[in-house]
């Protein structure tokens, strides 16, 4: 037995939106997307996240202009050195300039994040929409498959896929994407199951609208907002996951670098110097934190009131 808990809005928590919904008074008409933007922009933490991610993206795009040295060049200076005027972030055990590496690694790490989320979405969106929209057999079948995928510990699954495909940047992205698929499918499916029961779906059916059009025009647009939130959060997880795989040597291969492979390099010389570990760790933390802040900001901005199916 499950209880549907939907408490009536407590009277001492009446906000203007809630108040308008409760009473119908002062329903202030505003375009929903504009409201989302206004709320997001007013959220300081989310905006900070957005600024950091934008900066990181700019760094990645303009890496050749920013990096003082070739990131693959060795012995550009003293080895295992701390920060100095020539090497602002120091150097590692074979004399790579860490700033140059970090800047180029941003390219790999960020692009993996985007590739992972795009791949996972391309696979999961159609699966989620069909499994939610079509009843028992198709929906149940897809759901069963996703449950099976869910039973693997995520890291083990990613390791297995990456090992199977062979170590490379794109393969590690595929591995992480596969791990993400069941979560997105579940999310979309649950959303579709709710939307499917809405009267406007029945209204369109009574007009004679067929399933493909129904999914495209009515179901999908009404499932998009939780998906957007999830996508932002997954970007962060993808950066972490890629770092993990690269750290284990299953990701990007030398001489190319990602933040994860920088960690691996730094770790291998941890007994001599801890310094090379610090820049990639900070970069990874910053990126994950920023994506999470953006995701949270989107969740608040896309909140129940603005995108309730049943507003």
């Amino acid at each position: 037995m499950s209880f549907e808990m939907e408490p009536a809005i407590a009277a001492d928590q009446i906000t203007d939106e809630a108040f308008a919904i409760e009473t119908g008074v002062g329903t202030i008409v505003e375009d929903p997307w504009r409201r989302v933007r206004r709320r997001f922009v007013h959220n300081k933490a989310a905006m900070a996240g957005l600024v950091i991610i934008t900066l990181l993206l700019l760094v990645a795009v303009f890496a050749p202009l920013i990096a003082p040295y070739d990131p693959t060049a060795t012995n550009v200076g003293p080895i295992n050195a701390g920060p100095s005027a020539q090497h602002p972030l120091g150097t590692d055990s074979i004399g790579h300039d860490l700033l140059s590496q970090l800047v180029y690694a941003a390219r790999a790490s960020l692009s993996v994040a985007f590739i992972v989320v795009i791949l996972a979405s391309l696979a999961a969106l159609p699966l989620g929409l069909t499994s939610g929209y079509f009843g028992r057999w198709i929906g149940g079948g897809i759901d069963w498959l996703m449950s099976a995928l869910f039973t693997f510990p995520p890291l083990t699954l990613a390791l297995a896929v990456a090992a199977l495909l062979g170590p490379s940047l794109i393969n590690s992205a595929i591995a992480v994407a596969i791990v993400f698929v069941p979560g997105i499918v579940r999310l979309i499916r649950s959303q579709v199951l709710a939307v499917r029961e809405e009267t406007f779906i029945e209204a369109s059916r009574s007009i004679g609208v067929g399933s493909p059009r129904m999914i495209r025009k009515h179901v999908f647009p009404n499932t998009i907002s939780p998906f957007i939130v999830q996508a932002a959060l997954l970007m962060g997880y993808a950066i972490g996951a890629e770092a993990g795989l690269s750290f284990l040597g299953l990701g990007i291969q030398p001489p190319k670098v990602s933040w994860g492979s920088m960690l691996q390099n730094g770790y291998s010389t941890i007994n001599e110097t801890q310094w090379p570990l610090i820049p990639p760790v900070i970069a990874i933390l910053l990126a994950i934190l920023s994506f999470n802040l953006i995701g949270d900001g989107l969740r608040d901005a896309l909140g129940r009131e603005s995108f309730r199916v049943n507003e």
Binding site: M5, A8, I14, T15, V25, T199, S206, I207, G210, P221
Partner: protein, 707 residues
Amino acid sequence: MTLPTLEGAKRDVATPILEVQGLTVEFGTRLGALRVVEDVSFTVAAGETVGLVGESGSGKSVSSLAVMGLISPRAGRVQADVLRFDGRDLLALDAKEQRAMRGSEMAMIFQEPMTSLNPVFTVGNQIEEAVRVHQRCSRKQARARAVEMLDRVGIADAHRRAKDYPHAFSGGMRQRAMIAMALINEPRLLIADEPTTALDVTIQAQILDLLRTLQRENGMSVVFVTHDLGVIAEIADKVVVMYAGQVVEHTGVEEIFGSPRHPYTEGLLSSMPQLARPGAPLVVIPGQVPNPDAWPVGCRFSPRCVYSEPQCDAAPVAITTVGESQTRCVRVSELTLPGSHWVALEEEAPAVPAAPVGKGSAAAPDALLDVTDLSKAFPIRSGLLRGVVGEVRAVDGVSFSIGKGETLGLVGESGSGKSTVARLVLRLVEPTAGCVMLDGAEVTALDAAGLRAVRSQMQIVFQDPYSSLDPRATIADTVGEPLEVHRGLRGGDRDAAVAELLERVGLSAELVRRYPHEFSGGQRQRIAIARALALEPSLLVLDEPVSSLDVSTQSQVINLLMELQAHFGLSYLFIAHDLSVVRHIADRIAVMYLGRIVEQGKSEEVYLRPTHPYTAALLSAIPVPSPQIGRRRERMVLEGDVPSPLDPPAGCRFHPRCAFAMDICAVRDPEPYVTETGTVVACHLHTEGPMLSGRPVTVLESKVGKQ
């Protein structure tokens, strides 16, 4: 105006329990402070019931929340010249004192019984809690009080039911439980915010009776918030009519119905379908209630008022006191407004027309829609393998037909299966058995392609205009969808057709690029009607199309539907729970109970001379817009709730609740019988009844009829 008060002066009976003067409530919004309630004044004497009437957005609920102290200072600002409860200044109380007062001295019940109880605690637990918050007593004593109170509010087998969780209670029982919780500490003032709006009329009648009885016993005062003037006529002593945040009229209940003084009150009264001649257009208050950010400077009702003059718009209108009554109208001294002429209307009802006696006289000639023996059983699945363990027979052998250009009203309470019938007719739900013929085509036998084609012939308008429009689609997309799907219209052609449709239903064609959230309920329902009309159907299924709309909007939409019918020669299957609305629009009425049609006939016949006890009870439960008659008449109040369709009673399904039940009713299903006026009724009273019980069937009429 604050009058000096004599502190400690002896309070006599006339001292009001609640005094409200100049109550103003503002909410902080992004656009600045929005004043939603302004200068509201009224008093409630001990043992008195004051009705607070208004449409949505009138500020009636906010006013009652403000009195209860349920508007937090963070959200809104409550100000008043006087806000006194039992001589104490409510605005001077701190949070703790307010809490102590809430639930013990003044209590509140809300509209939605389904969400007002916490699903994870038993009903008894929750009532116990209400006791223990305010009184020092043991758990055992509290439990005993709770059970006693549940018994008093009419919960059968209260001792056992107190251990049930809310989901085991029906809507009516939950509202009874809420009342028990509100009254357990014997408050002196009860604020009831639309307590019966979500309930069926027969349950509403039970709850109103209960409130009256409890009020008599406890001598408590009641503030009854509602939009339904009929309910006001039943229960209120004094009435406060609110419009756009202000009190527009404050007077006795007899005066409201006999000689209303404000044009808005008169408009509300005259737009009640009960007060119109059947088939004639309803009186309409044009336009809609303005939002608080767009209230007119002068008289707020002036833009919608037929008596409006330039002087009305000049400056804010003050309230005028004449005798016991207060009215906020510039022209109050010159206008004489008609009151409720319900009595006169009932008396001029036509005599029994000579109708052909015989079989099938209730069937429509030249039928467009023919429904025969339609049934739907929903399987109940349970257990590991989701095996079928039972079925709910939502619709059980329903037959009717609708002629070209005719309206059949399908009436029933929630759970009667009327909405399932609507979906079965359109095959939005697959029937288990039976046949639906539309204009010679057997809808129930069509394949997917054929069904899609026939769907342009019949369209549906749903009850809730908020969920029946896709929030992510523009009006052009929504109304244009049938045109795209069936006619392949695109772009400019489609938009031109949509614009034409919008104008047809009384909306501006410029609105095509807007989204549904920018429209009010009535406008959304017009959009839904426009979508249904796009393919020029011959049959429109209207599933409670006006029941979620405000009174003044409701009559606008009914008029629109009647106009469209006359213009296009449409046939309507009009589904509603409100018999007075159905009587107004329908040619014939079919009454459903637990999945079956129990009575079917011409609407005037069914309305004035019901032949089935259930129809009679339904009619008797409708509040009458006349306080004199409403309170004097003898009513057939149905006991209990509609039984579960999972396990319907044997024989006649109505017999456990029927005042006329005979032995045979529990055994045998009644066969349809055609009376001399052409009404088809399934009731043993008309066949076996008079002989077996010795009571003539005409008893029905005298029980319900006019006094």
